[in-house]
Symmetry: C3
Subunit: 354 residues, 3 copies
């Protein structure tokens, strides 16, 4: 008989157990950091800090470990998943998190064909959401959609991807995977020889998942010694991150030579999709990874998926494949975020405070 | 800490509190009128009368006041929201009402792409719905779709908009807003000086929300002294309403001169969408309202939304904006309708009978 | 007052009561056969045998008779309905079954527009489903989609139609109707004079519902004396069924002359849709049934619906119409399958074992 914990796991690549991460704090969770999220919106990773990211990972690990009792945490709460840009993966992941916490879901699986067709503004949609649900989870192809809907919406709003903007919950999932993989990265200061070198294949300026991941990486300056951005663009970073990068003590460089830097990387973060105006652009063939790529032994690959050619399925069976374990943590992270924002932490018994 | 009642409200425009409407009957609800709806379908506003409209508004107000205890009113009941014409707003509003009463939902968010694609008839779809759910909420672009589905369907059917036909639940929402705004309108006879003059910008003959609103307005002859229909058509009323209008004691006139009549109106009802064959037609520019429009002081605007250019966002921040409060009442009205039709009033404790 | 059992029934054609089928085994259900389904996937009817088909029908009948108490059988379970080919009927039928057993649903009503649009592979979608739900119900236009998703998915998978492959749950619904119509067919051996002659109008090789129905029919060699396949193709059967047909003791013949064989048939099975490459092809006009067709007195027609011209609505009001009763059994059969696969039979009290 397979236990529930084992079942809710990746089919290939190393399994990331939650217990080692919990052991760092002796099973305790930074409840104060989570409680500060009650009633707030999560739009941009700049709202977060290392402490909050770690607290969310701790709660996610507690939920994944099943070492808690839950008293229908989201009972009576309705989450609206408003996907004006279709995404099976992200929508179902959020909806699964809501349902597993005994909340309810109002689903807009493909907003392109609905209200918009009658010329309805995002602001007016926000007005109607006020009385329909208790939290709104929105994906939208327009970067300024968050600003638009917030004109009238007075419910917590979770950004599930806004154009070339941000995707903060994905970045939290990315870091949950890294913290389970190397729990010592959650400490304020890692010994120098344990600090990691992260390579990011992509263009943070135009790719929201890459941008949000990088924004969170900058918060872990005690664990990350260097970040290399691998892009064909001279300035791939974009205005949004210029200042945080300048202020960061982490060494950051940019190269277009993926072959020379690849053997040095402990973590490779990649994505397949860049927003360029209204269309998508796949990564260049030079930046594709497969079993012939010169990866450092022990190096791990993160990818928010869905993938295209840039990440070969050959790698799925290898120990470099952290992306399947990364995906397997998504529902737990989103549960932690929802329980915090909807102020229902008290319904999850067994949260030991730090 | 914001209370639940305050949260489920409009962001702009006057807040319509439910308590004054409840005070008219000392908190009592006309339960007999509601019980008569058990097991019935709601297809056309002509099935309603002033007493039933008022009773639905009373129950909606009770639910909005939160001064009731609900024992999972729709427990074990499944509502099918069959939207063969997409509408985020109306679908989510109904689904929210079902979920907040602890019912369950089977959702057809966009019926255009599904069964119809294989040539399935609406009658056959009705046959299958018999065993899938307990009530069917349907929107369909064809006016005769209600007749078609009723050939085989023997579950209660709620019309959520049929072509150029009717939209009775929207009209109930409109009147719920008016009755909260002016609770004395719920009395059988209002003093003459308190009676209101309603202007309707649009073509009841071809616009279902306008038609249904007008049909209900005719029931309030003790409170409405005059209705002016503002349209560019010589005969905007349509066959459907000719007789009820002739029989009504309310003075009804038709004009295409919006400027001259506007300053006399206590209530302006408008809509943006007319069905003309298979396409939509927006209202003419002359009929657009903004802050320069010569509205009477104290006059209020109703609009079922979504809107286009005909209603300027400039008006949102003014006291003329009753349309946001109107939208905020939608879920409560639909809860009242569903609990009545599904015969579960006994699970809402605290209903004091008149 | 209409009882729940009566309400969940067909509007036209004979009503198929579940009690006579239950009486065959004195109300007992072959629990051992059902328990063997726990944790398994249902992809192809060849996984089934006469005993299992009968056991599923018995449990469906018990559920339809309402002579059971259910303790939220699917509590805490999430079913993913992943319809990469849209189908209102099948999707809602499964979702209704899940909800009526108090499970929860993650719905993909139209997978064509979602993950696929970004080039995501079915295998990767299977990987993500591992942590989102507890059982996956998939329809897909590609016949090899089951093989693709199973590369990474390690949750039970229910095939709700794969290209020109199979549709096993539909075939179970078909046989549930036949076994309620003639409960003696459930016995291992029927007296010769009670054995039936089944006619199948269609091409099993390319029509998945027809193929799956025929595959199950071959299991009832003690009750079916002859099967006539009526098709314009010389070899309508296809590779898949060649061996089972050769091994079957049932007499099987093929004809394109529907008129001559029709008066001999006890059961006529028909379908409207054949997959031919990417498109659909309707049945030829010669194979259409209406009130002028020379049907044997007492003969019944099965059709999985949705229908087109091949089955006239004239027949709806006749005793030949078993297809509406067949449709009315769908939710009960799918409940029986889900409760068995998700190993929750112990939550349905009153199951008497054989």
């Amino acid at each position: 008989m397979v236990s529930p914990t084992e079942m809710a796991a990746n089919s290939k690549g190393p399994r990331l157990w939650p217990e080692p991460l919990l052991a760092v704090t002796d099973g305790a969770v930074d409840r104060e950091a989570l409680s500060a999220l009650a009633g707030t919106s999560l739009l941009n990773p700049r709202q977060l800090d290392r402490r909050t990211v770690t607290a969310i990972a701790q709660l996610a690990a507690l939920l994944e470990s099943r070492n808690v009792e839950m008293d229908k945490p989201l009972d009576g709460k309705i989450a609206i998943t408003a996907f004006f840009e279709a995404s099976t993966r992200t929508r179902l992941s959020f909806e699964s998190a809501v349902l597993r916490l005994d909340g309810k879901v109002l689903s807009v699986p493909d907003g392109q064909v609905t209200g918009i067709a009658k010329g309805e503004s995002i602001a007016d949609i926000g007005e109607m959401f006020n009385t329909y649900g208790d939290v709104v989870i929105m994906r939208h192809p327009d970067t300024d959609s968050l600003e638009q809907i917030s004109k009238n919406l007075h419910r917590p709003l979770i950004n599930a991807g806004n154009g070339s903007g941000h995707h903060p919950t994905q970045a939290l999932i990315d870091w949950y995977a890294l913290l389970k993989w190397r729990p010592d990265l959650s400490r304020v200061i890692c010994p120098a020889e344990k600090q990691i070198h992260i390579g990011i294949i992509g263009t943070p300026g135009s790719m929201r998942t890459v941008k949000s991941f990088l924004r969170l990486a900058l918060m872990f300056s005690g664990s990350v010694k260097k970040i290399t951005i691998i892009s064909e663009l001279a300035d791939p970073v974009g205005l949004d991150l210029t200042e945080p990068i300048e202020e960061s003590p982490i060494e950051i460089d940019i190269t277009n030579d993926v072959q020379s830097v690849l053997p040095q990387l402990d973590v490779v973060y990649m994505n397949s999709i860049a927003f360029l105006g209204d269309s998508y652009r796949n990564l260049d063939a030079r930046y594709q990874l497969d079993c012939d790529s010169d990866l450092k032994p022990g190096a791990v690959i993160l990818h928010p998926l869905a993938r295209n050619q840039e990440l070969s399925v050959e790698l799925d069976e290898t120990d470099h494949n952290l992306y399947f374990a990364q995906a397997a943590g998504a529902v737990f992270v989103r549960q932690a975020i929802l329980a915090s924002i909807l102020d229902r932490l008290d319904r999850i018994s067994g949260i030991k405070s730090v």
